[in-house]
């Protein structure tokens, strides 16, 4: 679903992974591509926007938000990688989007609608201003 909307980042040819080393190489390749690998230059990373697209998010209108987000980024010439993700667990605040600007801390916004999308793009992403509606995310995962 929605694959027609996404910036698809499938590595174009899926070759079978035949050894554990192949798997490690693939991971390195993916990291490099996402600019997170050892040699990846952080300044060249682009903005990432994730939209919570689990049942809870979609039920609250996340599909519409994602579509609008992609249109508005294009319209306002913001070079961002918009992708879908699952449920962050803060279902009460859906639809939710996470904005990662290289060099800044990720921000999660809740109760997002089209108006909020515009505000986030224009004020937060473009002008770097504070935008209301941030959801404080606080959990440890296995890597921190």
């Amino acid at each position: 679903m929605l694959s027609e909307l996404k910036n698809n980042h499938h590595l174009s040819i899926m070759t079978k992974i035949k050894t554990l080393t192949d798997l490690k190489h693939l991971k390195d390749k993916i990291q490099l591509k996402n600019g997170l690998g050892k040699s990846g230059d952080k300044s060249e990373q682009i903005i990432q926007i994730k939209v919570g697209m689990a049942t809870c998010g979609i039920a609250s209108g996340a599909k519409e938000v994602m579509k609008y987000l992609i249109e508005e980024c294009e319209h306002l010439a913001v070079d961002a990688n918009v992708k879908q993700t699952g449920c962050l667990g803060y279902c009460y605040a859906e639809p939710m989007i996470e904005v990662l600007i290289p060099g800044s801390k990720p921000k999660v916004f809740g109760y997002v609608n089209n108006k909020k999308v515009r505000e986030i793009i224009e004020n937060y992403i473009i002008k770097g201003e504070q935008v209301e509606g941030e959801i404080p995310i606080s959990f440890k995962t296995i890597n921190n």
Binding site: L11, L23, I30, I58, T85, G86, C91, F139, I142
Partner: protein
Amino acid sequence: MTDPKKQFRIALRNCGLIDPEQIEDYIEQDGYFALGKCIIELSPEMVIDEIKNSGLRGRGGGGFPTGLKWEITKNVENNQKYVVCNADEGDPGAFMDRSILEGDPHSVLEAMAICGYCIGADTGLIYIRAEYPLAIERLKIAIKQAEEYGLIGDEILGSDFNFKIELRYGAGAFVCGEETALIHSMEGLRGEPTFKPPFPSVSGYMGKPTNVNNVETFASVPVIINKGANWFNKIGTEKSKGTKVFALAGKVNNVGLAEVPMGTTLREVIFEIGGGIIDGKEFKSVQTGGPSGGCLTKDFLDVPIDYDNLIAVGSMMGSGGMIVMDEDDCMVAIAKFYLEFTLEESCGKCNPCRIGNKRLHEILDKITSGKGTEEDIEKLKILSDVIKDTSLCGLGQTSPNPVLSTIANFGHEYLAHVKDGKCPAGQCKSLLRYDIIEDLCTGCTLCFRHCPVGAITGERRSPHFIDQSLCIKCGVCFEKCKFNAITLT
């Protein structure tokens, strides 16, 4: 806002962070490295030891040690075995498993393959309810992508281990989450439980040894392999290791998912992660364990959550539903609600469950409509014990728990219903009483004109009167009166 960091995400580690429809996102988070490590570097025995040492217990409700289950299934000789993932998730209010499957399907596929490697199975089956279309769609995409990369299929990572995964659909009956019923349903038979033993590990799907685990159990496995049993077993309590995902619902501000280390208290989950009770109302009770669980009072808020502690206080872990109730909830009505669910979902195979629960429900209904007696409360207890002792499967064996726990913890509410004819929470309509206070009534006739059943009489400019035998307790008069002349007791 404080930053309590009470949550620790293992099963949910990737949910909301990666794109579940892109296997590369999962691989970037070390996805399939645990499987690779197992089949290339470890023997099945070594993997099973690791899972055993981790202390992982089943997250589907029973809490059976996962490593031990794998070992038992491994040790049954047979050239055909199966790995089954139980994604039936039938508890009202529970959606942990759905979120994992929608947000990180590969974590489950990877773990099923690891289990297959350990027990000697070449086929995995995911039993999922048809009401989860998005989870099904994402699982299908995930299986296809993993097959394309050769991470599932024949000769995985150049080894001689083959493993394929298929989906099986359930119609959403709660009892089909019980493992024997689930297996019968997959075989195309009626989804009814059968007596154990034989356990599925010995004779399961198509009579073959079958290892059944829950979605969340599986989702924790790759982390244990990657991080090590000793990393995992440092989290949690003495007998319950790791974390548990709860679906917080009811009268709590932050409805959603919370994954916390075992040993976290109910208070921390409800008041810190859950943000407390809606509209600042008073907490009354928390229900864990779904229709099999119990309702706990505020006296239990500081109990550290783990399998054994919850059972000790008369509830249970269950699959992770956590429903919070406030001062406006009537505990007798809550018990009745769960019984309604049970009645609806009982497969009807055995009498104590089919008929006994119906009787329990009738008595509860009698109490909530104001016709109950103290004797009825005793009857509830006796009947509950019989149902628990004589039912065939877990559904019947646990179905009286909501009744027993509300009687034990909220006995005064039952007594108020049967002795004083009052519902303290004001929920049981039949027990409400609207009266007009003569001295305050101006005889404006407003209530008389709005009463839908003509229960109010009175002359203009003289006090009105409610005929209790006609009143249907709709509350319209109470709302309409501009002189506060109507009381609700």
